[in-house]
C-alpha cells in the first residue's frame, strides 16, 4: 500500500478515457468530445479539449493514449501544412484522414489511439472518417472512446439523415451528456466544434449547462 502511493503516480500511462463523436450534416460537420484525462484512477486534466486542429476546416477527435493521440495529431498537422502549401489550396478531408490512417496502420502494434477525422472541403462538403486500427472508412456519423459503448443504442436510434446544423449540435450534446453520465472515464465539460464553408466554430458547454435526462 505504501509502495503504491509513491510509485503508481507516474507509472500508469495517461489515457484519455473519453467519449468522442462526429456527425455530418448538409454543408458541414459537428464534432463533440468530453474533457476528462485520467492516469490510473486520478483525473489529471478535467478540461482538456480533445478536438484537435489539423487544418482550418479539418479537426480530429482524440481518444486512447493521450501521448500517442497528441503526437499523431501534431505530426498530421505538420504534414497537412506542408501538403496544403504544395497543392496551393485547402487540403481535402480525405487527405487528412489518409495521413492519420497511414500512421495508425504502420505503427498499429505500438500505438493505442483512435482518431476520428472530420471537416469540410470544397469537393465533398462535410465528411466524417474513422481510422480505427488503420482502416479508412467514411461514415455519416461516428462515435469513439470508452464512453461510446454506452451510447451506440442512442445514436443508432436517434440519428436521422438530413438533419440541420442545430439539430446535429443538439444530437451531439445529448450523446456526450448521456455517455458522460454513465462512463467513469468520461466527464468534465463538453467541447463542440462546428465546421462549415465559413470556417470552424468552437464552443464549450459547462457541466451545469448540459442537458439532463432520467435520474438527474
Amino acid at each position: 500500500m505504501l509502495e503504491e502511493s509513491t510509485e503508481s503516480e507516474w507509472q500508469s500511462e495517461v489515457k484519455t478515457g473519453t467519449t468522442i463523436i462526429a456527425v455530418e450534416f448538409n454543408g458541414g460537420v459537428v464534432l463533440g468530445s468530453d474533457s476528462r484525462v485520467s492516469a490510473g484512477e486520478t483525473v489529471v486534466n478535467r478540461v482538456m479539449n480533445k478536438l484537435s486542429l489539423l487544418h482550418d476546416k479539418i479537426y480530429c477527435a482524440l481518444s486512447g493514449s493521450a501521448a500517442d493521440a497528441q503526437t499523431i495529431a501534431e505530426m498530421v498537422n505538420y504534414q497537412l501544412d506542408v501538403h496544403s502549401i504544395e497543392i496551393g489550396e485547402d487540403p481535402q478531408v480525405r487527405s487528412a484522414a489518409t495521413l492519420v490512417k497511414n500512421i495508425s496502420y504502420k505503427y498499429k502494434e505500438e500505438l493505442s489511439a483512435h482518431l476520428i477525422v472530420a471537416g469540410w472541403d470544397r469537393r465533398g462538403g462535410g465528411q466524417v472518417f474513422v481510422t480505427l486500427n488503420g482502416l479508412l472508412s467514411r461514415q455519416p456519423f461516428a462515435v469513439g472512446g470508452s464512453g461510446s459503448s454506452y451510447v451506440y443504442g442512442f445514436v443508432d436510434a436517434e440519428y436521422q439523415k438530413g438533419m440541420s446544423k442545430e439539430d446535429c449540435q443538439q444530437f451531439v450534446v445529448n450523446t456526450i451528456s448521456l455517455a458522460m453520465s454513465r462512463d467513469g472515464s468520461s466527464g468534465g465539460v463538453a467541447y463542440l466544434v462546428t465546421i462549415d464553408e465559413k470556417g470552424a466554430e468552437e464552443k464549450c458547454i459547462l457541466g451545469n449547462e448540459l442537458p439532463t435526462f432520467y435520474d438527474q
Binding site: 502511493s5 503516480e9 507516474w10 486520478t42 489529471v44 493514449s65 501521448a67 503526437t71
Partner: protein, 279 residues
C-alpha cells in the same frame, strides 16, 4: 560514442544520449532472473506544482529525494533551469529529470542563439514531449514547465509518455492529489504575486505533510517578465529541533585508577577540517 576535442561543455551535453536504455532494460531482466536486484533508482517521490498569476508564473517544489523507503537527500533541488525565462520542476526518477532538463536547456540555448530571440515556453514543451515520446515512457520524467515569453506566461505539465496539458494550474508527483485539492479550493484568475506565492506554498505544504514521498522544505520560483526570483528555501517547513539531552558524560563520572603517558614523536604536516552533519 562520444566525440571529444574542440566542443565546449554545453555542446558536450548534446552528444550524450540514451543509447543504452534498451540494453539496460535487458540487463535488468537478466539480472533479476539470476536472483540479484539492480540498485534502486533514486526517485523524487515529490510534490511539484505551478500556477499562472497576473504577471507571470509561480513554480513550487518540495525537497525530499527517496531511495525506496529511505530519504536519500533531505534538501535536493527540483526546480531546474531551462533558460533565463523558463524553469522546470521535475518528478519521477531524479536522474531522468536532471538529464532531460539539462539536454533540453542546452538545445534551447543553441536554438535561441540561432533565432536571435528569447526562447518560448511552447518550444521547450515541444522539445521535451517529442523526446519523452521517443523513449515511450522509459524515461521516468514528469515535469511542470513554466515561463514567461513574448506571448505572456505559460504553464505546461508533461507526462513520461509524452502527453502534455496546458493549464492555469498544475500539480505532479505522489503528492499531486493533496496539492491539487488546495488549488481547486483557492485558485482564482489574475491573482497578485503574494497571493500566488502563498497558494503554491500551501499546496506544497499539503503534499509535504500528507504524502510520505514528499518532505523537508519548500522551494519557490517566481518568473515574471524580465525577472526570476529563485527562492530556495522559501519556507523551512521541517526544521530539525534542538536536542535537549546529551550522550556526553561529565569528566569524573568514571573513577581513574592509574595513568601512564607515552609521548609520540609526530610532526603536523597538514590539517583539514570537514564537518559532518551530526545534529
Amino acid at each position: 560514442e562520444l566525440a571529444h576535442s574542440y566542443v565546449s561543455d554545453k555542446f558536450f551535453l548534446l552528444l550524450i544520449s540514451y543509447f543504452c536504455t534498451f540494453r539496460n532494460a535487458v540487463l535488468e531482466f537478466e539480472c533479476n532472473k539470476l536472483g540479484h536486484s539492480i540498485p534502486a533508482a533514486r526517485k523524487t517521490g515529490t510534490t511539484i506544482c505551478g500556477v499562472v498569476f497576473k504577471d507571470g508564473i509561480v513554480l513550487g517544489a518540495d525537497t525530499r529525494a527517496t531511495e525506496g523507503m529511505i530519504v536519500a537527500d533531505k534538501n535536493c533541488s527540483k526546480i531546474h533551469y531551462i533558460s533565463p525565462n523558463i524553469y522546470c520542476c521535475g518528478a519521477g526518477t531524479a536522474a531522468d529529470t536532471e538529464m532531460t532538463t539539462q539536454i533540453i536547456s542546452s538545445n534551447l540555448e543553441l536554438h535561441s542563439l540561432s533565432t536571435g530571440r528569447l526562447p518560448r515556453v511552447a518550444t521547450a514543451n515541444r522539445m521535451l514531449k517529442q523526446m519523452l515520446f521517443r523513449y515511450q515512457g522509459h524515461i521516468g520524467a514528469a515535469l511542470v514547465l513554466g515561463g514567461v515569453d513574448c506571448n505572456g506566461p505559460h504553464l505546461y505539465s508533461i507526462y513520461p509518455h509524452g502527453s502534455t496539458d496546458k493549464l492555469p494550474y498544475v500539480t505532479m508527483g505522489s503528492g499531486s492529489l493533496a496539492a491539487m485539492a488546495v488549488f481547486e479550493d483557492r485558485y482564482e484568475q489574475n491573482m497578485e504575486e503574494e497571493d500566488a506565492k502563498r497558494l503554491v506554498r500551501d499546496a506544497i505544504a499539503a503534499g509535504i505533510f500528507n504524502d510520505l514521498g514528499s518532505g523537508s522544505n519548500i522551494d519557490l520560483c517566481v518568473i515574471t517578465k524580465g525577472k526570476v526570483d529563485y527562492l530556495r528555501p522559501h519556507d523551512m517547513a521541517n526544521k530539525k529541533g534542538v536536542r535537549t539531552g546529551d550522550y556526553k558524560y561529565k569528566r569524573g563520572t568514571t573513577g581513574v585508577l592509574a595513568k601512564a603517558v607515552t609521548k609520540l614523536d609526530l610532526e603536523v604536516v597538514e590539517e583539514t577540517v570537514q564537518t559532518m552533519d551530526t545534529s
